[in-house]
Amino acid sequence: MSRAKIISAPFTHATTSVPRTMLLVMLALAPATLFSLYQYGWPAIILFFIILASSLLFEALSLLIAKKPVTPFLLDGSAVLTGWLVAMALPPWAPWWIGVLGGFIAIVLGKHIYGGLGQNIFNPAMVARIALLISFPLEMTFFMQPQPLFAEHSPSFMQAMNLIFGGGINIDALTSASTLTQIKVLQFDGQSIEGATGLVGDLQTAMLGALPGSMGEMSALLLIVGGVFLLLMRIISWHTPVAMFASMALIASVAHFFNPAYHPGVLTHLCPGGFVLGAFFIATDYVTQPVSNTGRLIFGAGVGLLTFLIRAYSIFPEGVGFAILLMNAMTPLIDHYIKPRIFGRSKSGEPLASKQPGGGVQ
């Protein structure tokens, strides 16, 4: 990184830049985030800022250790965005140390260990989420019914501080399992899930967001709004999200058709915000998805398929995070095999045949 005088053309540039990209992604995330923060009240707000602050701190420390210029990197927005996505992937009332640990895992283990921005193989926010989920299953599945700011059961600022830093108040009464968890429980018990789907049958609730879940799972609708914004601004290409939705929709509807007692319908799979968040904001992470559009179609389809398999047949109720990490690992392979054809060459890289006996070689 340098601002050294460029000595080679081009001497003009499109309006794109890394900070602009990061800023637009944050803008796209803002509606869903604000709504979530409102729905979950003070504890969520406090946790959100704890995660952002710790991400920035770990970023600065990592840059110092790596002897990279701190200010320009810190201001490029990537650390804030990573922290933001970690917050979206955690339960909204998690204790403070979960948040700090999340920031640490994402920034240090997820990114800087690999060499910093652009070098990591796995999406840092998902690395943080999955590592925490496996290490602290209790805290990480501690979901509750939304308690909007200023509502009757919503904790005050002080209570919230207590809750996040000390776990002092009894909130057991408010906890609740997420829809996918309820389904998982029934699947394990060998019971038909058809009764349970009534819980999520209400599509409107799922879209607008009044169901228990992670911060980012709150409102599928607002996430879709953000995603469409990113598509319109050409920050992300449609290939990954569309492939993800299409493959999930296809597989889930086929499965549901043949065994409705075990497999929930398509909307149950698509509507809780986790899948939408993953499709528009996590799987589309530039660094960890394939670079080519064809590669992205394969990648997205793979994420959809793996998410379905994990949700249906593993012990985990939610699978988007795992699925994305697994496909992240496939990215170098996909990039290696999916390459565009070079101009004037055949697919295999041989120069095209000349129409002249002499060949017209330069």
């Binding site: 990184m1 053309a9 001497f11 830049s17 652009g118 070079i342």
Partner: protein, 505 residues
């Protein structure tokens, strides 16, 4: 005519409105001209004049010893002569830094104009209909004509391909895809009949049935003027191509017009086509019809930091500062000055640098136009891939070259990169990608030379070994022969002795 899809490319803001409405103006004679002896691809010319010589306008002043003036035949060397741009006195022959990124010094001939600016004795006009192929090509060679689109490849050498390939189409490149530049646009609007005459001469020389004149679809007036000039001429037509960078790259132009791709590592002649620029056609018209060598070219002076942008017919050797003054100077300190367009142009800072045959434009850009950014790591966003017109993976090439992996970079297509800069234009991390590709190509060239040198050394060593062996063999043979001779003699002696002994007995 239906066009064909060309993948890749970008749409930079073209800024042509700055100078497109300005008619081509002449330039008052400067106090001094500075004529580099190397204004073309190939071997540099050597000065034929001495300090103090008086020269007339159009007089030959530089020639490569190997560049055969007779021209014609397949032995036309790749070089171009240099002529005095005006009449005057030679005041110096110096080594000076050339307006080129290499920064190498070159021989420059300094010429002080006498103000008369009169042509000297010129070769007689040729009638293309009655002149032979060799005569016409020789005229073009002797007139110092090179590709005026900026490539500076000697035109005569290009036309020679007719003798080796079966050509069927001539494509005239009027697709000026670099932002800011309007020199071809203005030339077409103002001099269409002369350009079309030059094109007919080219068509006659190449003996091709089809001529396509490609013009960007936004240059409606130029297309209209050219259509009017073509009139009812057989086999010649104007085709509008999309305004997109780099449409003016000849291989991509051919793809858009015909759907065919020039095979990697080949020239358009592999497809039976040949591409020439409109400015070149104009120069050919002047050389053939009037015997005038190439002593001037059209230059666009533009950019946000120039007070009055415009288009000028400039004598070769005119210093850039002279033109900038003519345009009212700078309105602010330019962030970047360029020779050529912003996408592929060459930076310069010295206003003493002269205009040469390859100077399509002179730009003085402001900071808002250059949009300099902080160079950050590659975030693998993939934006550069759809931007690349050559189907390359610019981010891959960048990683390979920056890790000094030149071989793998060549395998990944580094040699196919046309250095157009579309990738760097879109890169959100502002990585100077083209700079890396230049470096990689340079390293590859060094490697090739190294290999060639090693081969040559090995051949020499092998030959020496062979010679030594041969010598040893000969020596051995000689020894053998001597031994045999001695043995034979001994035998003979013995036999004689025996005989003698017998005789005695």
């Amino acid at each position: 005519m239906a066009l064909f899809e060309v993948a890749g490319g970008v749409h930079p803001k073209d800024h042509k409105e700055l100078s497109a409405y300005r008619a081509i103006l002449g330039v008052p004679l400067p106090a001094e001209l500075c004529l580099p002896m190397h204004q073309h691809i190939g071997m540099a010319a050597k000065p034929l004049v001495q300090v103090g010589d008086l020269v007339s306008k159009g007089q030959l002043i530089g020639l490569c010893a190997k560049g055969c003036l007779e021209g014609g035949g397949s032995n036309t060397a790749i070089t171009a002569p240099v002529h005095a741009s005006t009449s005057g006195r030679i005041t110096g022959i110096e080594m000076q830094r050339a307006p080129h990124p290499s920064g190498l010094s070159e021989i420059m001939v300094m010429l002080e104009p006498d103000g008369a600016d009169v042509w000297g004795e010129l070769p007689a006009p040729l009638d293309p209909k009655t002149s032979s192929f060799a005569e016409l090509v020789a005229r073009i060679q002797q007139s110092g004509i090179v590709g005026l689109g900026g490539a500076m490849f000697p035109t005569a050498a290009k036309l020679e391909t007719r003798t080796r390939y079966d050509l069927h189409s001539l494509i005239i490149n009027g697709a000026e895809c670099e932002p800011y530049l309007t020199n071809d646009d203005r030339l077409m609007r103002e001099q269409a009949p002369k350009i079309v005459d030059g094109i007919s001469i080219l068509q006659h020389i190449l003996n091709v049935p089809e001529v396509i004149i490609a013009i960007e679809d936004r240059r409606e007036q130029a297309a209209e003027a050219m259509r009017a000039a073509i009139g009812l001429r057989e086999g010649m037509k104007v085709v509008l191509v999309p305004t997109r960078y780099p449409m003016g790259s000849e291989k991509h132009l051919i793809k858009a017009l015909t759907g065919q791709e020039v095979p990697a590592g080949s020239l358009p002649s592999a497809l039976g086509m040949i591409v020439n620029n409109v400015g070149t056609a104009h120069a050919i018209h002047k050389a053939v019809r009037y015997g005038q060598p190439l002593v001037s070219r059209i230059v666009t002076v533009s950019g946000g930091a120039i007070n009055n942008p415009g288009n000028f017919e400039v004598l070769l050797g005119t210093k850039i500062g002279h033109l900038v003054e003519l345009c009212g100077g700078f309105s602010q300190t330019p962030e970047q000055m360029l020779i050529g367009g912003p996408m592929m142009g060459v930076p310069f800072s010295d206003l003493e640098v002269p205009v040469t045959k390859g100077t399509t434009g002179i730009l003085a850009l402001t900071k808002t136009e250059v949009k300099p950014g902080i160079h950050r790591p590659c975030i693998r966003c993939g934006a550069c891939i759809p931007a690349c017109p050559c189907g390359l993976q610019p981010q891959d090439l960048f990683v390979l070259v920056s890790n000094e992996k030149i071989e793998p970079a060549l395998e990944a297509g580094l040699a196919d990169c046309i250095l157009c800069g579309a990738c760097a234009y879109v890169c959100p991390s502002h990585i100077p990608l083209v700079q890396f590709y230049h470096y990689g190509k340079g390293q590859a060239l060094l490697m090739r030379q190294e290999v060639a040198r090693a081969k040559r050394l090995k051949r020499l060593a092998d030959e020496r070994l062979l010679r030594a062996e041969e010598k040893a063999r000969q020596k051995k043979a000689k020894q053998e022969a001597r031994k045999q001779a001695i043995a034979a003699r001994k035998k003979a002696q013995e036999a004689q002795e025996a005989q003698e002994g017998e005789g005695k007995a």
